[in-house]
Symmetry: C2
Subunit: 284 residues, 2 copies
């Protein structure tokens, strides 16, 4: 485990995911420092032993003492941070992120980054519909997927290092995808599903639905409780794959609607059997 | 609790819901008989003390000894059963069902039914993606909704009686809707969600999705594991409300797609905030 050597971790952005990383890493014995604008988040994290120390301002000494830096920032803020403060990084530092879109940030950051520091992108496929370190919970990583998103610029050492992070955080599956493959996958699996949930929730203004609903509507709209600032940014940064999958879904949905409208029951049943068969991969 | 007087319950159709009713009612001390074509289901229910006795054939003596009869059959089969065997019912018997569509059966059954027997429709909004009495589980009724669906033909006594059933089964909310209101609601909350889940699951043939997915896709496709025989029948019997809501959802989804395509971020964020606000009714 090459992770033993990286004893000082800096987490920039102590939100739900950054905070959950901090919680897990501190418990594993790493020294965890946080930089987070919100003083109350730092206070909470200190009181609850989620971090060893925390600061609201970026400082050369804090950044340069970290062997590894994990960014829990929104994509554009992340890029601006690197542009502004990368000179502070320790020589040989490893950098990763938790960002939900990749093509639009990975190349830009690798291109601007100092040669003696390596950025290896990764995406923890875990979350909750609540925000902030106050809701940090490293149990969300168990049975979740961790995606490593290297480019040709990344070294084998960095890929091993980030795989080690996924393992010690407790993720159950660790996969490797290119930035383009990642963004396609996320357009379908995550962003399309959020668009569906929002559409389903906003297409009726009946306030009494909760009195009649079963689990299915509840499940499909759990993520309709959505952080509009973060998700609108993620959607805009991944517009092309997302629109592609929105259109594929639309045409599939319309074809099922037409089967129902025209009473083509056998075709409808065949679709349902295909759906059941494909969903079975998720039960293994 | 007028339910004390109805000590002998007959359940026709011992599937997941019929079986879960049986389990709860027997535990509460009622005498529970089942009629179910599948001998193995009867055997399982007897061995596991879910019923007191069970039969694979309909018999006058069995039916006529029941004070209340609960039908766990598919809609068309349910209508045929009533047409064929209603002469067996005990005078004054109360009858209910668990069927997912109402307008297309409630009036037909009430019109054909003997005057000395009352059919009061109800819909337990609970289920699992598994079938049969072998998976019976009366815990699914806790925190679930129970909908009573009376017509003008129903007596106050029957409405009280069926409310009592909902309460003793442990449902957390009991509501009353007309057959037409029920079918509208179900078209939106249950059938539309199943159409969405099937479309989402069938619009990609990638078998490796499970390696990359987060909870959102998993949640939205849980019900993509679907009983094609039952659901295609339910869709066809409720075609008009379902198509109405499919089209409302389509136009909402398209309008969100257009906002993303055109970069109308403020409108998109407003939709997300509306979605979050509406979803909040479900958290109370």
């Amino acid at each position: 485990m090459e992770w033993i050597s990286h004893s000082r971790i800096l987490i920039v952005g102590l939100g739900l995911i950054g905070g959950s990383y901090a919680k897990a890493l501190k418990r594993l014995g790493y020294h965890v420092t946080a930089i987070e604008k919100r003083q109350s988040a730092i206070d909470f994290a200190l009181e609850n032993h989620i971090i060893d120390d925390g600061y609201t301002e970026v400082d050369r000494e804090i950044v340069s003492s970290a062997d590894a830096v994990i960014f829990g920032l929104y994509p554009q803020v992340f890029k601006e941070w690197i542009a502004q403060y990368q000179e502070y990084f320790k020589e040989g530092a490893m950098i990763t992120d938790v960002t939900g879109v990749k093509s639009c940030i990975v190349y830009d950051i690798q291109n601007m980054l100092r040669d003696d520091v390596e950025f290896i992108a990764s995406h923890p496929m875990a979350g909750k519909e609540v925000y902030g370190v106050e809701n940090a919970d490293d149990a969300i990583f168990r049975s979740a997927n961790f995606i490593i998103v290297p480019t040709e610029k990344n070294t084998a050492e960095a890929i091993r290092w980030i795989g080690g992070l996924g393992r010690i955080l407790g993720f159950s599956r660790i996969s490797v995808l290119s930035p383009e493959e990642h963004d396609e996958m996320i357009g379908y699996l995550s962003q399309l599903t959020h668009c569906i949930a929002v559409s389903l929730m906003t297409c009726s203004d009946n306030e009494h639905l909760v009195d009649y609903t079963g689990d299915s509507f509840r499940d499909l709209t759990r993520i309709a409780n959505i952080n509009d600032l973060m998700w609108s940014e993620l959607f805009m940064l991944n517009r092309e794959p997302l629109l592609k999958y929105m259109n594929i879904f639309l045409s599939e949905f319309e074809s099922i609607r037409d089967m129902i409208r025209d009473g083509r029951v056998e075709e409808l049943r065949a679709k349902m059997r295909l759906s059941t068969k494909r969903r079975a991969y998720f039960n293994k």
